[in-house]
Structure formats: C-alpha cells, structure tokens
C-alpha cells in the first residue's frame, strides 16, 4: 500500500513540476501543438477503426 502511495505522490510531484510549459506559447507554437493534437487524434481514430474492422471481420 505504501509503495502505491509513494508511486502516486511521485506522479503528482512530476505533474506539478511540469504543470506550466516553459516555452513561450507564441502563435506558431500554439498552432503547431494544435495541428499535432488533431493529427494524433485522427491517427488514433484510424487505429481504432482498423481494430474494429479486424474484430468484426474476424
């Protein structure tokens, strides 16, 4: 139980240490990150679609 608590506090510490991005969020940086998010969501969606295809077609 203690091990889990330590692990949880470690994750919390990492999350709070890196809560704020240090890089200045200029327009170009924001746009790049937005495009990256959209790209990754589309890719994950495609993978899920492929997974469903495999499952339904046996």
């Amino acid at each position: 139980m203690n091990g889990f608590r330590n692990l949880f506090s470690k994750f919390s510490a990492i999350n709070s240490r890196y809560r704020e991005p240090r890089i200045a969020m200029s327009g170009a940086v924001r746009l790049s990150l937005l495009v990256l998010r959209v790209y990754l969501l589309a890719l994950v969606g495609l993978m899920i679609y492929k997974f469903v295809l495999i499952v339904t077609q046996g």
């Binding site: 470690k10 890196y18 991005p21 890089i23 940086v29 990150l33 990256l36 890719l43 993978m47």
Partner: protein, 422 residues
C-alpha cells in the same frame, strides 16, 4: 627511399588523427550505425532484391536527412544538458511529456522484440537454439553496460559498429558489375515506374532511417558523455560520419541482394541470409553475422534510450557512469525491458509478425511529435541562445521534418491498410 620518407610523416599524422577521433568518437556514429538494426537490414535486403541497384541514389539522399535531424539533438543536449524526454516535459508540460514517454516506452519495447526476432533468426541459421541466443545476448549486454563507465560502453558499442561493416566485403564477394551499380544506382530513376509498391519501399527506407528512439538516445547520450557547447563541432562531425557510414552499409546490402537475389520477395533478413547461403556460403554467413550484430547494437541503444528517459523524468540516477548500487532503477528498467522482450520471442506461436507491423504504426504516432518538439525546442532562444536554429536551418529542418511526417504517416497507413498503395 626518399619517396617513402616523405610519405611517412603525412601517414603518421593521418593515423594520429584517426586515433584521436576514435578516442572521442561518440554517440553520433553509434546511434547512426545502430539505426541499421534488424528491421533496417530486412528493409535494405528486400529493397535490393526487389529493385536491384535502382534505389541506391535514394538511399544517398537520406545522408543529409539523417544528419540534419540528429545534429539538432547534439546541440539541444550539449546546451541544455537535458535528455529529450526531460526537454519535452520541461518545454511543453506534463501532458505532452507523458504522451512522449509512454509512446517511447511502447515503441522501444516492441522494437526490442523485433531485434530479438532478428538475432534469434540469424543464429538459428548456424543451429543455435533461440533460448541460448536470448540468454547469451542478455549476458553480453549486461557486461557492456555494467562496467560503470560511459566511455567503455561507447567503445564496446563502436566495436559492434565496426562489425556492421561486414556487408562491404560481402558485396565484393558477389562480384557486382561496378558499371551497373554506377549507371543504375547513381542516376535518379524509378525502376518499373512510380507505383504504389515502389512508394511503399521508399517510405519503408525513410522509416528505417529516422526512428523516434534515435532522437531520445542521442540527446541523452550527449548529456551522459558530458559534451559541452565547445564539443558541438565534434558532435556534428561524428553525426555526419555516422550518417555516411549507415547509408554506405545500406547501399552495400542493396548491392548484395540486388546482385544475388534479383526479383525475389524478401520478408526477413534471415530469409535473405538463408537464400544467400544456397548461392554463396560466405556471403550468406556475412549477412547472418551482420543481422545478429545489427540486432544486438539496436537492442543496446534502444533499451538505453528508455532507461535514460525514465531516469530523467522520475529523478533517478541515470548514467552509465554509475554502478548498480548508485542507480538501481536505471539498470532495473534497462534489464526489465531487455528480459521481457527477449522472453516474448521464446513464447511458442507468439504473434511476431503482428508485433513487427505494430512497431511501425506506433512509431508513426511518436515520430512526428518528437520531430515537431525538436524544431520548437531548437527555436527557443531563451534556452538555446546562440545555438538557436538559424532561418536556413529552420528551412532545411522544416522541409525534412514535414517530408518525414507525411511519408512516415503514409507508411503507417499502408501498414494498417496494405491494399492502399497497390
């Protein structure tokens, strides 16, 4: 006599320069040669068998591509003294940090499985059972990393890099027509026209030249080696030499299979080695030894890339300059990755082909993110100062990164939907 006397001093000077380079040669050449891992050897062998010498020119184009991407990690590591994982956490926050770290862990573990597949298949040609290969490899890798010195690890890795050159004498043994190699290989052309299958091969060659773990490995290695800003020119030279060596080795693999196995569909490098054994025992043996070496070198670097990344984020001691007692978690993650991936290969009827395909798909989700972060971090003037990307570096790097993202994404699509480009 006078001629030899005059030759002596330039030769001695050149030999001293080579000796000096070998002392400081580092992560650049190791990561680049390790890029010719088991999957890479398979791709090059299949390319040569399918298209002969016709795609050699394309491989040569990949020299500057690999150099420009990896050079950025040298500058970033030397200036920030941070590995790539930590740089992403720090620069873009916890969300992107966790995404990159988890994705790296998955892709590294799956790639490690494919390295073990390559190594066991290579030694199976000589009658070595897979379990002996797995045990032997883990012991060998323990010896390499547990000596407590980064310098020793790097020099041992360089020794395995030298073994990767085995393909060069192998190519001479098959007596290729130099005229054909030059005429067909150096003039840009698309043999049989530009079709879906050719596009698939071009994408596969790019995919094996730039892998996400390489960015993480080289930046962490630059930090572990203690490279400073003044060492950046050496790091650049090291990376350039590495990118040349890796492509030259790839070209010689293409020449071997292009000469001996033209028109044969190759599914794995081990299959190519077995086929070559039938025509020339020595060349087949060279290919099998090279495949084992490639898998081993890939495994050494990939497992370290993950261990460094975890150490950076969790705050564990994470240097090869430490002993096990000083950095238990660093070595624990290293061996956990290694042992578990090795065991997968020993599972009867494990879905190894599926795993190999999955590696490429998952890598596609990490590579664009890692490359975009790399470019953005290199433009952070507050951190990089004078080492910030210049407009021309941004232009070249941007075009390369955009091209890699588009082609690797299409490659990922083609793996998911094999009929897409047929």
């Amino acid at each position: 006599m006078n001629f030899f006397a005059r030759l002596y001093y330039p030769l001695r000077k050149a030999w001293k320069a080579v000796g000096l380079y070998l002392v400081i040669a580092g992560p650049g050449i190791v990561v680049m040669v390790a890029d010719n891992d088991a999957g890479g050897i398979t791709t090059y062998a299949a390319t040569g068998a399918k298209y002969g010498y016709h795609l050699i020119w394309f491989l040569l184009i990949l020299i500057p591509v690999a150099y420009y991407v990896q050079e950025m990690t040298v500058r970033l590591g030397a200036v920030t003294k941070r590995g790539h994982a930590e740089a992403i956490f720090d620069g873009f926050g916890a969300f992107w940090g966790w995404f990159s770290l988890l994705d790296l862990m998955i892709v590294d573990w799956l790639t490690l499985v494919t390295e073990f597949v390559g190594m066991t298949a290579a030694l199976a040609i000589f009658g070595v059972p897979p379990w002996i290969t797995v045990v032997m490899v883990i012991l060998l890798m323990a010896i390499i990393v547990l000596n407590g010195r980064y310098w020793t690890f790097e020099k041992l890795a360089l020794l395995f890099c030298a073994l990767n050159l085995v393909y060069i004498p192998g190519a001479f043994l098959v007596h290729p027509s130099v005229r054909d190699v030059l005429h067909q290989g150096l003039i840009p052309n698309f043999a049989g026209g530009f079709n879906g299958q050719l596009f698939f091969f071009l994408m596969a060659n790019i995919g094996t030249t730039i892998a996400p773990w390489m960015l993480f490995f080289q930046q962490s290695a630059v930090v572990d080696k203690g490279m400073l800003e003044k060492d950046i020119p050496w790091g650049r030279f090291d990376t350039l030499l590495g990118s040349i060596v890796t492509v030259v080795v790839a070209v010689f693999i293409v020449i071997v299979t292009g000469t001996v196995l033209p028109g044969i569909d190759i599914d794995s490098a081990a299959q190519a080695a077995s086929e070559l054994m039938k025509t020339d025992r020595y060349v087949g043996t060279f290919l099998a030894i090279g495949l084992f070496d490639a898998g081993l070198l890939g495994a050494i670097c990939i497992s370290l890339a993950s261990s460094w990344a975890f150490g950076e984020i969790f705050g564990w001691a994470h240097s090869l300059n430490t002993k096990i007692r000083q950095a238990p978690w660093f070595y624990a993650t290293y061996f956990l990755m290694l042992v578990t991936s090795g065991l997968v290969v020993l599972i009867p009827q494990a879905p190894l082909v599926l795993i190999t395909l999955f590696v490429q798909v998952i890598a596609v989700t990490l590579l664009p993110a890692a490359l975009v972060f790399l470019i953005l971090l290199l433009n952070d003037r507050a951190t990089m100062g004078a080492r910030c990307n210049t407009p021309s570096q941004n232009l070249i790097g941007g075009v390369i990164v955009l091209s890699i993202i588009i082609l690797s994404t299409l490659y990922g699509f083609s793996v998911l939907f094999p009929n897409l480009f047929k």
